[in-house]
Amino acid sequence: MRRRHENRVAYLFLAPWLAGLLLLTAGPMLVSLYLSFTDFNLVNPPRWAGADNYRRFASDVHFQNAVRVTFVYVVGSVPLTVGFALAVAVLLHGRRRGLGAYRAAYYLPSLLGGSVAVSILWRQIFGDDGLVNRGLRLVGVVGPSWISTPEYAIYTLIIMHVWQFGSPMLIFLAGLRQIPVELHEAAVVDGGGPVRRFVGVTLPLLTPLIFFNLVLQMINSFKVFTPAFIISGGRGGPADATLFYTLYLYGEGFTLFRMGYASAMAWTLLAVIALFTAGMFVTARYWVYYADRDGAP
C-alpha cells in the first residue's frame, strides 16, 4: 500500500524534471537526429534528404578545417590544463596558513574565464598593440598581432583554456585530502623521499581523478564556444584559424538557417565525444588504479 502511494508522490516530485527531460532534452535529441537527415530552414517544413548532409562533410572545406582546429585545440589544451592543475594542487595541498588565499587566486580565472568580458580582455592582451606586445617591446622584441595571425591565433585560445586550470585543480585538492596520512608515514618509514612518495603513493591514488579530469576537460574543450566567437568576431578568422566546430555549427544553424546541416554536425560532435570518452575508458584499464571499486568516478 505504502509503496504504491510513494510511487505516485515520487512521480509528482519528479514531474517538472520529467517534463523537461521529455520536452527539452530527450525529445529535441530525437528531433535533431531526424532533422540531420533533412533540409530544414525553420520557415518551410523539413524535407527528407537522406544522408546528404553527412555526405557533404567530405566536400566541405570549412567543415574539415573546423574539425582540424578543434582537434588541435583539444589535444593542445587538455593535457596541459590537467597537468598544471595537478602540479599546482600538489603545491597547494596542506593546512599551512595562506594556502587558502592562493587556492582562491588560482581558481578565480576558472570562474570568470568563460565570460564574454574575459574574451574581450584576451583580444586586447594578444592584439597588435596589446599587453603582451607592449611587454615584449620593453625587451626590444616587436611581436605580431597574435590574434590576427593565422598561425598563432589558436594558441592564444589554448593559453586561455590552460589559464583556467582552477576547477580540475580543486578536484585534485579534494582527492589529495582523501589520501590517508598513514600511507605517507609508512612510505617515510620505508625511507622514501618526497619524490619517491609522490610517484609511489600519491600519483597512483590520484589516477582515478586524473582520468576523470581528462575526460571532463576533453568534453568541455570540444564544446567551447564563447572565446572563439568573441576573439574571432563570430566568423572564425583569421583565415578560418579559429573556426571552431561549435562556431561553424552556430553559423550554419543560426546565421544561414541550414538547420538540417547543423543538426548533422551536432550529432557528429556527439558521436565523436562519445567515441573519445569510450576510448579513454578502454585505456583506463591499463593505467587507472582503483583501491576499491567504489572509488571509481
Partner: protein
Amino acid sequence: MTRRLLRQALLAGGALVMLYPLLWMLAASVKPTEEIFGGPGLWPRHPTLDNYRSGWVALGVGFTTFFGNSLLISSAAVIGNMLSCSMAAYAFARLSFRFRRLWFAVMLVSIMLPIHVLIIPQYTLFHRLGWVNTFLPLIVPKFLGVDGFFIFLMVQFIRALPTELDDAARLDGCGPVQIYLRIILPLMAPVLVTTAVLTFIWSWDDFLSQLVYLDDVGHYTVPLALRSFLDSSGESSWGQMLAMATLSLLPMLAFFLVFQRRITEGISTTGLRG
C-alpha cells in the same frame, strides 16, 4: 628553509601571473585611452572614471537596461533551479519508486550532453511558441530541472543526511510532501546556497543561449551588450569597453568573495563543471 622560500616565491609569482590579466583590466578601466596603450604597467597615473561614465551609455540603450535584463534572467533561473532540482533530488534520494535507477542514470547522462544536439529543436519549439526574443527560453527550462548537475549535487547532499529525522517525522504523521517541506528543505540550506550562487553565475554567463534567443537591443543581456560593443567600436573605445567588461564581472566576483567555500566545495565534490 631555502626550499620553503622557493616554494613561496613560486606560488606568489604564479598567482601574480594568473591574476595579472584581471588586475590589468581593472587598472585599464580607470586609465585614459592614451595611457592604456602606454606600457604594460598596472598603476594608473591619471585615474579617471570617464570610461565608466561614457561606456555606460555608449550603445544608445544604457547598461542600466542590460544589467536589469541579466539580473532578471539570472534571478528567475536561480528560483527555478532551486525548486525543480530540489524536488527531483528529494525523490531520487529519499523515495522509492519504479525505474528509479534508470531515471537517475538518464539524469547523469543528460549532464554530459552537449547543448548543440538540443538547441536547434529547442529553438524551433520556442519559435513556434512565439518565445523567441523574450526571456522565457532562458528561464522556463530552469523550472523544468534541465540542469541535472544540481540535481546530482543535491542528491549527494540529501543522502548524507540522517534518515532518523524522516522516520521521526513519519511517526508524527508527516507524509513525503511535508517531510520535504519541513525536514529536508531546511536542512538543505547549504547546498541550496551553492546551487543559487552557481546558477546565478552560470546563467549570467550563458552567452550561446542568449545569443540565439535575444535579438532586440532592448532585450540584450550584459554579455550580448559587450559583444555588440566590441563589434560596433574601434580601438578608440577600449577603455569604455574594458570598464563595462569589468562591471560585468563584478556580480560574479562578489558572489565568489562571499561564498568562496560553497563554490569550491560544489565544484570539487561533483567536479562536473566550472
